[in-house]
């Protein structure tokens, strides 16, 4: 399997000074996906941004894993609601023009 787009999980942990167990927990919570190649854990480029965000939430803001899990769900909902607001604003604009 190609590993060009993958970052060794250990490298990530060294770079960000986080425990490997932390990203394993995140995977257990279903918050990130870890790619395993020949029993070695990698993080894909697409997952990197999200993982960085979760690291910040945990280490910078002292939010535990349950909190991060809840926040991740709420942020997704917020994203959906923001899109809905835009859509409703545009719809309202249509009636205001008539």
């Amino acid at each position: 399997m190609q590993t060009d787009d993958l970052i060794l999980a250990e490298d990530f942990c060294t770079h960000y000074r986080v425990e490997l167990s932390f990203i394993n927990y995140l995977e257990e919570y279903g918050l990130i996906e870890i790619t395993s190649v020949e029993e070695t854990s990698y993080i894909s480029r697409e997952q990197l941004r999200k993982l960085e965000q979760l690291v910040r939430l945990h280490y910078d803001l002292n939010i535990n894993l349950e909190g991060i899990d809840a926040i991740a769900h709420l942020l997704e909902r917020m994203k959906g609601l923001q899109f809905e607001i835009i859509s409703l604003k545009n719809r309202l604009g249509l009636y205001e023009k008539i």
């Binding site: 965000q53 939430l57 002292n62 939010i63 249509l94 023009k97």
Partner: protein
């Protein structure tokens, strides 16, 4: 020069302990952190201030200088040297400003602690800072938003070529990863957020993926039926008008509306409302015929 009271920013007293500062910072950071407030410029600005305040007040040496020199604490050493060399008799310690200073652009410089290079801590995870996020608006016509196309944007002198998928909404924001400000100390670059502003169209109204248009038909076509040509955003189409069509009749043309965002080949519907136009400048003969009709 505007003075920012870091104690006020963190909501603490001047005699706050280190743990008070840490606790206040964490509480406010959780409230205003950009990860928890996406696309919120105000929260972002507030977070920068909180960070700045924490960076100064959590470092005993910086805090001491800040308490002594206020807004000009960063230049305390220069100031002290200048004082010694000039053997000035009076001391300005305890004052939040001193006259005749040429200390640059003031407190806005303090934001460099977040986005600049001078004040970043040299050790620990916090030494790497993500670059600033940029926001931009991209104005499109309805026709442009109808088709997937490429556009070149110039952001801070750099040309960025982006693909705009058909069906973008007015007000929709897309994120271009890594096209914001440069990261600090090998930190990642910020992102570029582009808000699409789609201008109103002279003929078509858009509601999500559906399009609305009102077209005029003459009285005779409305009564007897016929055909009318309609210019859609994807070309001309021929519409069959049923006999005895009333003014205000609305018909739906399935799949002739706006493209569905990131769903290639899928389109909304086009709603056409007929507006029957009564003929004007009738000849005597035409009027006579209408009289006959009215009596029949």
């Amino acid at each position: 020069m505007e003075f920012i009271d870091y104690y006020k920013v963190l909501g603490i007293e001047k005699n706050a302990s280190e743990s008070d500062i840490k606790s206040a910072y964490r509480k406010l950071a959780r409230k205003f952190h950009p990860d928890l407030n996406p696309n919120d410029k105000e929260a972002n600005k507030k977070f920068q201030q909180i960070n700045e305040a924490n960076e100064v007040l959590s470092d005993p040496e910086k805090r001491k200088k800040y308490d002594t020199y206020g807004g000009d604490w960063k230049h305390a050493e220069e100031f002290e040297k200048a004082q010694q060399s000039q053997s000035r008799q009076e001391s300005n310690s305890g004052s939040y400003s001193f006259s005749g200073s040429d200390f640059g652009s003031g407190f806005s410089d303090f934001f460099s602690s977040m986005f600049g290079q001078s004040e970043a801590k040299s050790s620990g995870r916090h030494a790497k800072y993500r670059g600033e996020d940029y926001n931009a608006e991209l104005h499109l016509t309805l026709e442009e938003a109808y088709t997937t196309h490429k556009q070149t944007l110039t952001v801070n002198g750099k040309n960025i070529r982006i693909t705009i998928p058909a069906g973008v909404e007015n007000g929709q924001v897309i994120k271009l990863k890594g096209h914001g400000g440069s990261g600090i100390n090998e930190g990642p670059n910020g992102d570029l957020y582009i808000t699409f502003v789609i201008a109103d169209h002279a003929i078509y109204k858009r509601r999500a993926d559906d399009l609305y248009i009102s077209i005029d038909i003459d009285l005779y076509t409305a009564i007897l039926g016929g055909e009318v040509m309609l210019d859609t955003l994807s070309g001309k189409i021929k519409l069959k008008v049923n006999p005895e069509t009333q003014s205000g009749t609305k018909i739906r043309l399935k799949g002739k509306g706006f493209p569905v965002y990131k769903n290639e080949g899928q389109f909304g519907d086009l709603y056409v409302t007929y507006s029957v136009k009564i003929p004007t400048n009738l000849t005597e003969r035409q009027k006579e015929l209408f009289r006959e009709l009215s009596q029949s």
